[in-house]
């Protein structure tokens, strides 16, 4: 028994290097979404596994007025956080596009809805993050907008791939409650135990 311990402990300790433990903790917490906040919100909506997206919700939700956790992002009434999630009523009716990161002008979380039916025809900005030349040869408009179900965009967006199966519900009337669970992040956590980083998010902390 003692010999087994003697061999197991160093192995565990090696695995349990500081960064490894941080990444596993982060991956574990990435599965959950629970936040409350205040905003000009009105409505109820739910989505599940990229198949069902229902309800009507409209309003803006400033991150600075929110408390909670959203798939790895802590929110604590942080005054300097200028981001605002925007639920657009018209889009909800037609497509279920959620959580546009309006104030950052980054429609990043719009990719959450990447698995909705293509026939619903909604589209989001491609939100480049890699400092590439996004300027078309002609004209004075950016032409790189993608339909949110665009396979080419989906193929390059790891976050969208991991979160495509999220289960979420939001209810709000000025004050809102937002809960969710990400099966994709569970898979990332399990794979992370054997040091596979499916979500590409290790090393954040």
């Amino acid at each position: 028994m003692r010999r087994r311990l003697l061999t197991l402990i160093p192995a565990l300790c090696l695995l349990g290097s500081c960064q490894y433990l941080k990444d596993r903790s982060a991956d574990f917490l990435d599965q959950y979404r629970l936040s409350i906040g205040a905003g000009s919100v009105l409505g109820v909506k739910s989505k599940a596994l990229g198949l069902v997206d229902t309800g009507l919700m409209m309003g803006v939700k400033p991150h600075a007025a929110a408390l909670g956790w959203r798939y790895g992002q802590a929110m604590f009434f942080h005054e300097a956080d200028m981001r605002i999630d925007a639920d657009q009523a018209e889009i909800i009716k037609t497509t279920g596009l959620v959580d546009m990161d309006y104030a950052k002008a980054s429609y990043w979380s719009g990719w959450n809805s990447a698995a909705i039916l293509p026939a619903l025809l909604s589209w989001v900005d491609a939100s480049p993050v890699d400092y590439a030349w996004q300027v078309p040869e002609d004209g004075d408009e950016y032409a790189d907008r993608h339909w949110i179900w665009s396979p080419e965009a989906m193929a390059t967006n790891r976050y969208a791939q991991v979160h495509v199966f999220d289960v979420e519900t939001q209810v709000g009337l000025v004050v809102y409650l937002d809960v969710g669970y990400s099966p994709g992040e569970l898979i990332d956590f399990l794979a992370g135990l054997v040091t596979l980083d499916l979500a590409g998010d290790d090393g954040r902390w």
């Binding site: 090696l14 018209e90 480049p128 004209g139 004075d140």
Partner: protein, 636 residues
């Protein structure tokens, strides 16, 4: 009997050793080296006079003067609830009143010597022609060539959006000319450039076919300018090497103006090449900017100009073309970039493309403004080398700062320095005599107290109205116009009253020289006493908002034309009056930033209120300080 420890295997030691060994990789995981930036603070001795240093021109950088139309109507945006959300919604009246004096002083005394001025935008506040006129008058006095990268407050209502219904914007610009959409601003700006005494700007005037621009009306010159223009200097010298603008009158937010400033020294080095600053326009938007997103609107979403900057493809293509062409024709060229919005505040595709340009073309420092705070930022664009951004604070809002910027290089020792000397108004004035006299500071609760306008009522209902009109009302329905409510009118009235009492105090402290014949006295006044009577009468008139504004306009003209002198000694007090105004602006700015008379980290000398500190008995003389000390144990 002597006993010795028994030899044998100590228990637990291998376990401890294994744990200790295992900790090593754990520690390795935790101990990450700091990144090694390319730009680091230099604390060593540096004197460009020692050694063979090559240097660029020295540029004075100023930004965010926010010259405000003092005569505006009451506006829904200017209320105490908005003020609670954004402190600069309403500034202390003394700050608005003397902001132009501050800018004028900075341009005249802000540095020991500089070659040109670059203004990083937000010269105006509400985007009115009168504000621009005041700004151009100050810049003309500088006697140095100047260029500007425009900011959101220069041509958008309140710096945030471009309303379809111009009613509110016109109310904001009441008594200050018409509203200033972007296309009009650009033409007036270019017309003002043509008046400067600089060979490159004279060449630009010739290229535009504008003759004697200084002798012609600014608006007339602006009217003759084309909507599209692209010019490069053919040899010669001067501050401007290139300029291009594209104006879209029907959608002014799509317009842009960009420039290439020449900061090359007289002595060119072929290995270093010429040094240019690209003045970009971060206020060019694809869609009409909006205050907040409309809840019924799908894509494209609108941006709020106060939150985000954007540059459209036509502008970025033009800049890239300039760089390629310059390097093809001139050989090595070094570039810095300047624009109003910080890099982090750029819309995503703009940020991506600008970042690519910055990285792939090896451009140097990016200078920005907009935050009113000022900072340095290191950006990682995906290469080993970090990129440096210098963000400049406001000349009006605290810390009332400006900088000079100059580059130095030495080829033999392979050294490069950037000197970005930071100046703040208060520190500069404290080094001079005659500023911040204790008797000048406005007492708390005086009628012209810097923050007296805060005594009104909150206008939270108006914020709900904003949400209803801008967010809840479907965008396809006619948008109702929101007007100032009673609380907002009360606050604006208080602002006007504070301005009146500020003029009152100016007259009391610095009486007008009665022998000066060139004074534009207010109507029905021929001496200070009569002016003061009119001020008291107007300030006491609770219902007379328009009469207050009318008198304020007269007082402003009066103040600009009058000379003051000490009635006892007969000596001129014009200099003291100018110092008083700068002191008032600084106090007001500080009170605005600290939300009251609070200390901040840069303060060194602290005044302690005698009345509220010392025992009343000691104060009244019934008990001496010595007796007090003896009672407490003596000698302390």
């Amino acid at each position: 009997m002597v006993s010795f420890p028994r030899p044998g295997r100590p228990k637990g030691r291998p376990l401890l050793a294994a744990a200790a060994l295992a900790l090593l990789p754990a520690l390795h995981g935790c101990l990450r080296p700091d990144p090694a930036p390319r730009f680091t603070p230099a604390w060593e001795h540096f004197d460009p006079a020692e050694g063979d240093w090559w240097k660029t021109d020295k540029v004075l950088l100023v930004a965010d003067c926010q010259l405000h139309n003092l005569w505006s109507d009451a506006l829904p945006e200017r209320n105490l609830s908005s003020e609670a959300l954004a402190a600069t919604a309403i500034r202390p009246p003394q700050l608005d009143l003397f902001a132009a004096d501050v800018l004028e002083w900075i341009l005249a005394h802000g540095s020991d010597g500089y070659d040109a001025i670059i203004h990083l935008g937000d010269a105006l506040d509400l985007a009115c022609e009168g504000e621009l006129q005041a700004f151009l008058e100050v810049m003309a006095k500088a006697g140095k060539p100047w260029l500007m990268a425009p900011g959101n407050h220069d041509f958008f209502y309140f710096g945030t959006y471009d309303p379809e219904d111009k009613g509110l914007w016109q109310a904001a610009c009441h008594h200050s000319g018409s509203v200033l959409p972007k296309d009009r601003f650009v033409k007036l700006y270019v017309a003002a450039l043509l008046r400067e005494d600089d060979p490159s700007l004279a060449a630009l005037a010739a290229a535009l076919g504008v003759e004697a621009p200084r002798e012609r009306d600014l608006h007339e010159v602006a009217d003759d300018l084309p909507d599209d223009f692209d010019w490069v200097r053919d040899g010669g010298s001067g501050v401007l090497r290139r300029i291009a603008w594209h104006l879209v009158p029907e959608e002014p937010w799509r317009s842009y103006v960009i420039q290439e400033a020449d900061m090359s020294p007289d002595r060119l080095d072929p290995k270093i090449g010429r040094q240019f600053v690209l003045l970009l326009d971060s206020c060019q938007y694809q869609r009409r900017p909006g205050l907040i997103p409309n809840g019924w609107q799908t894509f494209p979403l609108v941006l709020n100009c106060g939150s985000h900057g954007e540059m459209l493809p036509d502008q970025l293509r033009k800049v890239r073309g300039w760089i390629d062409e310059d390097r093809a024709t001139l050989g090595p060229v070094g570039y810095a970039m300047a624009c109003h919005h910080p890099f982090e505040a750029m819309a995503p595709r703009t940020k991506s493309s600008l970042g690519w340009l910055w990285r792939e073309h090896g451009l140097g420092m990016l200078v920005t403004a907009h935050t009113h705070k000022g900072y340095f930022a290191h950006h990682d664009l995906g290469t080993e080398n970090d990129r440096l951004e210098l963000n400049l604070g406001s000349t009006t809002d605290w810390p009332m700062e400006w900088r000079t910027l100059q580059g130095f290089a030495r080829l033999d020792t392979k050294q490069i320095y950037l000197r970005a000397e930071r100046h703040t108004l208060v520190e500069e004035l404290k080094q001079r005599d005659g500023y911040f006299l204790e008797a000048w500071e406005i007492p708390r609760d005086a009628r012209d107290d810097y923050r007296r306008y805060k005594q009104g009522h909150a206008a939270s209902g108006i914020l709900v109205d904003f949400a209803l009109i801008h967010h809840i009302t479907p965008y396809w329905l006619p948008q109702p116009t929101l007007h100032a409510n009673a609380a907002a009118i009360e606050t604006e009235t208080q602002v006007k009253d504070t301005l009146l009492w500020t003029f009152f105090r100016l007259l009391q402290l610095f009486p007008t020289d009665p022998g000066d014949g060139g004074v534009a006295w207010p109507d029905r006044c021929a001496n200070d006493r009569e002016v003061i009577e009119r001020i008291v009468q107007a300030a006491s008139d609770a219902e007379g908002f328009d009469r207050k504004v009318a008198l304020l306009q007269e007082l402003q003209r009066f103040e600009r034309t009058r000379r003051s002198k000490d009635p006892t000694s007969g000596a001129s007090t014009d200099l003291e009056r100018a110092r008083y105004k700068l002191s008032q602006a600084a106090w007001a700015s500080r009170f605005e930033s600290s939300r009251g008379r609070r200390l901040s980290v840069e303060d060194e000398l602290i005044r302690v209120d005698w009345e509220r500190t010392v025992d009343p008995a000691v104060r009244s003389g019934k008990k001496t300080g010595t007796e007090e000390g003896a009672r407490d144990g003596g000698g302390r």
